[in-house]
């Protein structure tokens, strides 16, 4: 049996020597000194004398500027200081992130009146507010300060300009009263019916308002629809509802293409529950088993223990076969590997009756009926699926009563007089957007309540922007019996109004939504304030299996049997964890967030299989990986042809091409989203009942052209040191649990035999780091078994630490600034990289080494060690030699190549004409409004300094001060880092490792067999330990075995070289 191999790029697998050579270079491109050519320095654009002139002038100017008077700074206190507000101290308010049906209860940190950070709301004893957030929830605080938000109510007018051409312009409506009057008159004049088109509404008080408007047609429409599930559940006797899924109760989890950890339904909640079943007790190792059937490599799929791939059009066949197999038959899809897999899964499900759970990401009603039948057969209802508590995350249906199809027909018939749109954007994300646009023209009065000038809003006549949720009162009922309140954390920044107030006023009820909200929840009585303070109120429902009826199965089976297996290639549309369905596409943090699988930023692209790449003549060598220029292909989808850059991903179905939705926005959405990627919603298909997010009969041709994609994975090389990742199978781990401790022992005994008994102190030339010992030693433990790669921590770090956004152009030049990145490793057979066994996600941040290689090489001692174990970075001391970054074995240091933050004293430092241009998004992040999101406790770094993870030192310092102020000792849990609180899977534990009772000390004590330090042989003594990833398979693992026995000396030698390198 061949060995497993860990790899990050194809170059590494296919041509390791060249890969090594290329990863030596710090810069992949020639250094871009424009203006220097062969003519010699004197003739260059900036010759030596000019240089000296500028030097002299700038020195003189700087001296002159500095000798002038220091600017007068004002200190303006409140006129009347509100009670309970202490300037400089943060306040925390419980509120709720609601977006397109996603609900995350959060705590907003408000500093001096500005919300600057969101954390997951944790309520003791709660079943819902369990903490953790998604990347999008984390980033939503930046949306509040988006300079592209609409700032006042406006009215579209057609004007004739100087060249006598008609121009469409939006003009400000001076007051809300005037707006009400305008719309009121227009509605009266238009007659016809009034319709309200929204995304899923989870707010009970809003639903109440809608229901009070007689004859108002309310249509809910979800950009990515769950209509298939709603309809199937109705057919199975549960009603048009969605149940609660209990991933923590499931021993066997089967997902048919559902990305439930990343984007499906309620990923934060699911990730929390899922991770519970994935935590390992070393004394009795056991974990849930996760099978994934899918056509491309999704984030959830990459976490699966076993994956099986198939064409998107085969999903129905897979579901049917699985139903057949769990009911005692055997699978017959015609694909041997798939059949074996389905039979295995069916046996596992049957062996774990009442402990299995099958979820399906398809939006096909018939498919979901079959999935319901499977869940019924394995006893999931009442055990892992709870109908006692239904969820409201998605309510839109694609056809039938109150569907968008019905609305469109009425609009086309001209019976709709007024259309109001809130939270929905069909002119962008409807599969047949042209039909919507045409139908919209037949509506006389169109009103949009959008916060931004999105595609639909720009077609509407009246625009009255709604408040951002952080400026609003509101409520959400994510699940039956769970109420999560929204409360304002800042006074509205712009002239905006609750859309609910408009509904109230226009229906003749002259109350403000705020008052209505308070009246509506007056029923809570004394509980109202308590709920507001805590954020969430729960009434526990009883677990119920519901009333399943198998009535629809036969029809569904017949229908699925009629589905044809797709021809040619198949295009599947998916959502990324960053952009989702596209509502937050204007968010710079999210656009710069590397995708968990492809590590690409600032684009969508076509993910293709290795087989397809071969067919298209794309060689997977270093040139493919090394340079950002990726091949462009032309996709022929029906009558349309579209050019897309490709990324080759292992473990894909050979004929599947996957493209993310949410990209390709209009210019009004802001400079961040405009021009990024292409809109693929139009390639979704409609089967007469629901929208399907795949299409068959697609062909691809290689255009032999190139397009640059900014990927981050290749930016950091460990120089072939493989001890960064530790991963094995459950079987191998059970068999040989002592692999990691034995390796450590071997390093101590065999290699450093001259350590005179004190390995820690004497294995280094430098003074023993342990003598810096004190009573606090901050440490972190990251459980790679829990980490699912969702990237929430990366955005949280952005928000907490003022990490700059650099834009695509800079990411292309490896100048990304993420303090925390998630490294993605593919695990495959050494010989066959396409045979993907697993994907390992490893959050990588400064390891805060006690024997840090970076500290030794800094010529100005700008980076040094604190007695609490933190590797400190003093920005204002740094002179920018970058020696530290070059000497860091983990490549976690980030250099400010340009003045990304506008923090420099000299404004001209943002002008990069000699070395390149900064993207507009960098300037957007420097806008006065956007800068309100900055954390005032963290320095904004200027050009030319190094930065990196600080272990959220502002939080450790604050916690210590708080303890001192209250005359008490530091408690475990006083400090939680931003990444830790953001993590929905509880993968990160942080605390004082010297405190024996702390969570971090316990984790390390309880997991001696899985706990490892990255590149232990370098003896850099990190303060972060990882827990090895374990896959729940029975496979033997050669690599896990050989570590300390056969290849032990070889490893040691490699380590020795590494040591030498690190030391000098």
């Amino acid at each position: 049996m061949s060995q497993n191999k860990y790899w990050q790029s194809f170059g590494e697998v296919n041509d390791p020597e060249d890969f090594q050579k290329k990863s030596q270079d710090e810069f992949q491109e020639e250094l871009p000194f424009e203006g220097f050519d062969d003519k010699g320095l004197a003739d260059a654009k900036a010759p030596r004398r000019d240089f000296l002139k500028y030097l002299g002038f700038s020195t003189a100017a700087a001296a002159l500027a500095a000798s002038c008077k220091v600017p007068v700074r004002k200190a303006i206190p409140y006129a009347n200081k509100p009670e309970n507000i202490i300037p400089g101290e943060a306040k925390y308010y419980a509120t709720t992130y609601v977006q397109d049906g996603d609900v995350v209860p959060v705590i907003a940190k408000v500093r001096d009146g500005r919300p600057i950070k969101l954390e997951g709301n944790v309520i003791e004893g709660s079943n819902y507010a369990l903490g953790g957030t998604s990347a999008r929830a984390q980033a939503s605080v930046l949306d509040l300060y988006d300079m592209h938000r609409l700032r006042f109510p406006q009215h579209r007018v057609v004007k004739t300009n100087a060249e006598k051409k008609e121009e469409i312009k939006f003009e400000e409506v001076p007051s809300f009263e005037k707006f009400d009057e305008l719309v009121g008159n227009a509605m009266k004049a238009a007659g016809g019916s009034v319709a309200l088109l929204t995304s899923t509404i989870v707010s009970p008080s809003t639903k109440d308002i809608i229901s009070r408007w007689p004859n108002l047609k309310h249509v809910q429409y979800d950009a990515v629809s769950y209509s298939g599930m709603l309809m199937a559940n109705e057919a199975s006797g549960f009603g048009k509802k969605l149940p609660s899924y209990k991933f923590d109760a499931a021993k066997v989890i089967v997902s048919l293409g559902a990305d439930f950890l990343g984007t499906w339904l309620s990923p934060v909640e699911f990730a929390k529950a899922y991770s519970k079943g994935r935590k390992i007790d070393e004394k009795d190792p056991a974990m849930s088993k996760h099978y994934q059937f899918e056509s491309f490599l999704s984030m959830t799929g990459s976490n699966a223990d076993e994956r099986f791939t198939h064409r998107p059009s085969e999903t129905g066949a897979v579901a049917l076969s699985l139903l057949n197999a769990v009911s005692g038959g055997s699978s017959a899809t015609g694909n041997a590997t798939l059949d074996a897999g389905i039979n295995k899964v069916a046996k596992d499900l049957n062996d774990h009756k009442n402990q299995g759970l099958v979820v399906c990401g398809s939006n096909d009603k018939n498919l979901q009926i079959i999935v319901n039948a499977i869940n019924n057969a394995i006893g999931a209802y009442g055990s892992t699926i709870d109908w006692g508590t239904t969820v409201n995350y998605r309510q839109g249906v694609d056809s039938g009563a109150n569907s968008i199809e019905e609305l469109l027909a009425e609009m086309e018939a001209g019976t709709v007089g007024t259309l109001m749109v809130y939270g929905a954007n069909p002119a962008y994300d409807y599969y047949n957007k042209d039909r919507f646009i045409a139908a919209l023209k037949k509506v006389k009065v169109t009103v949009s309540f959008s916060e931004k000038m999105d595609e639909t809003t720009s077609l509407c006549e009246y625009v009255l922007p709604n408040h951002h949720y952080l400026e609003s009162w509101g409520d959400a009922e994510p699940k039956s019996g769970v109420i999560s309140f929204i409360q304002p954390t800042i006074y509205p920044l712009f002239k905006t109004r609750y859309f609910q107030t408009s509904l109230l006023k226009w229906s003749g009820n002259n109350t403000e939504y705020e008052d209505h909200f308070k009246t509506y929840w007056g029923s809570l009585g004394a509980d109202y304030n308590k709920t507001l303070q805590k954020g969430v109120k729960e009434t526990a429902g009883t677990v119920s299996g519901g009333s399943y009826s198998g009535g629809g199965i036969d029809a569904a089976t017949t229908a699925i049997q009629g589905y044809k297996k797709g021809t040619g290639s198949e295009l599947v549309l998916y959502q990324t964890v960053a952009i989702g369905c596209g509502t937050q596409a204007g968010n710079p943090w999210l656009q710069e967030l590397p995708d968990p699988i492809t590590k690409a930023t600032w684009d969508n692209y076509a993910m293709i299989s290795m087989a397809k790449a071969k067919e298209l003549g794309i060689k997977l060598n270093n040139d493919y990986e090394y340079y950002p220029e990726k091949p462009l292909i032309e996709l022929t989808i029906g009558k349309n042809k579209v050019e897309m850059p490709i990324l080759v991903i292992p473990g894909m179905d050979a004929e599947t091409i996957a493209v993310a939705v949410g990209y390709g926005r209009n210019n009004e959405m802001g400079r961040t989203a405009a021009g990024v990627g292409k809109n693929f919603y139009p390639y979704a298909t409609y089967n007469g009942e629901t929208v399907n997010y795949f299409t068959t009969g697609v062909s691809a041709t290689n255009l032999h052209k190139k397009y640059k994609i900014a990927q981050t994975q290749k930016h950091n090389s460990y120089e072939n040191r493989k001890e960064v990742v530790r991963e094995t199978t459950l079987a191998a781990f059970k068999k040989e649990p002592e692999t990691i401790p034995a390796y450590r022992k071997h390093l101590e005994e065999d290699f450093y035999n001259n350590a005179n008994g004190n390995f820690r102190a004497n294995a280094t030339l430098y003074p023993d780091a342990d003598t810096r010992k004190h009573e606090i030693r901050w440490g972190m433990s990251i459980d790679m078994n829990s980490c699912n790669g969702c990237n929430a921590c990366v955005v949280a770090c952005h928000a907490e630490n003022n990490v700059p956004v650099v834009g695509k152009r800079e990411v292309l030049r490896f100048h990304d600034m993420h303090w925390l990145r998630i490294d993605r490793y593919f695990v495959s057979d050494e010989k066959n990289p396409d045979n993907l066994k697993a994907v390992v996600f490893q959050p990588m941040l400064c390891q805060h080494c006690d024997n840090a290689p970076c500290e030794n090489v800094c010529p100005v001692a700008a980076t040094n060690h604190s007695n609490e174990g933190i590797n400190q970075m003093a920005y204002n001391r740094c002179i920018g030699t970058r020696y530290c970054a070059n000497n860091c074995p983990f490549k976690v240091r980030r250099f400010n190549w340009a003045d990304y933050t506008g923090a420099d004293s000299f404004p001209d430092n943002q002008d990069q004409t000699i070395v390149g241009k900064l993207d507009p998004v960098v300037f957007q992040m420097n806008d006065d409004i956007t800068r309100m999101v900055l954390n005032p406790d963290v320095t904004v770094r200027s050009r030319g300094v190094m930065e990196k993870c600080s272990f959220c030192v502002q939080r450790t310092q604050y916690a210590k001060l708080d303890a001192k102020k209250n005359n008490r000792m530091l408690k475990d849990g006083d400090v939680k880092t931003a990444c830790q609180t953001a993590c929905p899977a509880d993968a990160i534990v942080f605390g004082n490792a010297y405190d024996k009772t702390s969570a971090i000390a316990k984790v390390r004590e309880e997991n001696p067999q899985r706990s490892f330090y990255v590149l232990e042989q370098l003896h850099v003594l990190p303060n972060i330990n990882y827990l090895a990833k374990i896959r729940n398979t029975e496979e033997a693992d050669e690599r896990w075995k050989v570590k300390h026995k056969v290849a032990g000396h070889g490893e040691a030698k490699e380590g020795h070289e590494g040591k030498k390198e690190g030391g000098h």
Partner: protein, 418 residues
Amino acid sequence: MIPCKPIGQRLTTLFLSVFVFSFINIVSAQDGKTIFNNKCASCHTMGKDAIGPNLQGVVSRWESMDMLRMWIKDFNKAIAAGSPRAKEVVTFSPTSMQMFDGNITEDELTAVIDYADKWQPPVVQTPNGEPQKGNDNAVIFGVISLVLAIIALILMQVNSNLKKLSDDAEGISRPDPVPFYKNKVYIAMIAILFFIVGGYYVTKGAIGLGRQKGYQPVQPIYYSHKVHAGINQINCLFCHGSAWESKTAGIPSVNVCMNCHKGINEYIKGPKLYTEDGEEVNGTAEIAKLYKAAGFDPKNPAAWDPSMAKPIEWIKIHNLPDHVYFNHSQHIKAGKVQCQTCHGEITEMDEVKQASELSMGWCVNCHRNTKVNFNYTDSTGNRFYSIYEKFHNDIKTGKMDSVTVKDIGGLECQKCHY
């Protein structure tokens, strides 16, 4: 400067002894003073009547100490007990006195009554003693070096002339000597000297960039800290309350000023006020500026609407660079540092000026020298420090006698820079 040394010495001794005695006196009443400043000073002023009456010699005015204590804890009880003094003093002001029952311990009460009763106006110490003798050695050495350098130059010139003469005498023809101003050795020496001296001043100037010790801008309202914090002894935290809880000391909002100035609408009793340039300031007119910002009409106080107040745009004096994290509560509440340690004798300043350099060296020196109170077992120390087991053991075994801020990491970069 007085040339006669003995007289100078005698004067110094006299002044020092006065100072030391008064200091001892202060120490004995220290607790009482602190309690007074924290609990009483918002209404009572020593030496004169304010919102509350003057408390100097208060014990003698009461029929018994018990009755006085009862009054302070709960004045209603004292009246009910039939105290004649209580009935008299209750009419002193329309505002009734705060009840301190439960807020003050018996010991504290004793200390504060003792302090108030025995209080005497501070001795005004006008001449600030003899100024410290400057170090004249540097000047002397400088002059000596300069003279020696000139002599060396003259000797070198003489030497070269003599050499030329002797060469002429012996008939050896040598090229004409280069005049000294063209001599490359001299030029090089002067250049080096210029670089050293110039470099010294440039470096010194560069280090001092952005430092504003002594900065004393003209504020929109002539607000005298001397009158408020000095003469009237209002506790710093009464107005700058957030210094106790937050990183910023906070500048009082208009409503805080108006708490007192609703009643105090003219400046008559205090000493005359002068600007830094010596111009006299009309205190009442300055209070009027406050009223303007607050939208308050002293003739019609009932009509005042505090919500119409506009903030006063004060000029910030103490500026730290953006890359410095400074937290007032860390120093005031956790570290128990007096405000004056950094802000200077604020009670003596009419217009505030920056008293300290606020440079990193200045911060760090204090962190090196300041001792941390490790006695967490009694009430003075902080429980937080119990974590430092090693230091506690070292103190017990006599290895170290005290722990400074430096020892617990107060000099590390990321204690202030992050």
